[in-house]
Symmetry: D2
Subunit: 93 residues, 4 copies
Amino acid sequence: MAVAELCLFPLGTESPSVGKYLEPVIEVIRASGLKYRVCPMGTVVEGSVDEILGLVRACHEAILKAGARRVVISLRIDDRTDKPLTIEGKVRV
Amino acid sequence: MAVAELCLFPLGTESPSVGKYLEPVIEVIRASGLKYRVCPMGTVVEGSVDEILGLVRACHEAILKAGARRVVISLRIDDRTDKPLTIEGKVRV
Amino acid sequence: MAVAELCLFPLGTESPSVGKYLEPVIEVIRASGLKYRVCPMGTVVEGSVDEILGLVRACHEAILKAGARRVVISLRIDDRTDKPLTIEGKVRV
Amino acid sequence: MAVAELCLFPLGTESPSVGKYLEPVIEVIRASGLKYRVCPMGTVVEGSVDEILGLVRACHEAILKAGARRVVISLRIDDRTDKPLTIEGKVRV
């Protein structure tokens, strides 16, 4: 299992408050069945690298469907082969 | 107040487990007096941009002092002028 | 077309010089047929979001095959629907 | 010397084209005297960690002065103590 953080920033939205573009994204993450945690600077998910990349694809579709004309997607994946990574384990440093 | 996420990755350590390099960094963040939250993919802090950049400087020193020969520091700051940002507020999307 | 920047950091490599883990990754990017540019802090590629995510998957496999026991993958995608993005266009701000 | 990549994304602009907010930022980087390279996904600079953090502070001020009401600043620093890092050296992997 890998752990990843995903953030999406819609650009050109008229208002600096972008929650209405992000709510459908959180809904897609929730519906994915992957373990996740909403953090202040992004949403953290736990899964295989394939599952995480599939989720990024779905979140990209969701934010465009929500009306974003431009989006910056930031993803950071942490994966290791010597022992499993988990959301809980990583908070313990 | 801005909110920022800070992550440090020491490279060239013998083990893929890098906690011993990160513990002094967390200690520096704790001692800074800034509001913070340890998240799975980084530590989130709340403060002015100046306070945040000062903290990055101190964390950089701490990880080198802990023995890291190379470090990648990733920082993302979210700042807005129309209303205050807080760690708690940002979790509510 | 979207434009994305991809960086991979192998952790726990004994030496702070990680070029031998990154050469196979650059080779995978070259072989993908996508337009790309090697930049100082990562490799920039141009393609659809699907093509970019497929490439991330292949780069992840390549760095593990090269012997990395842990890897941090950082990806930032910029996509817009109102006009095409290109590597050349983005350098002109 | 460290090498860093800096990107600023203004949020809540009326148009998805944000060049007019970024031009003053590039001007601040140019005026800093640091070695830099404009790349497709951000601007890469070479300097000490202190110089880089001072530049981030100046870029933050410049984008607010250009009218941005909200800004996401993404910074990644690569620093090593065993040998100097340079923009040119890092392109050679």
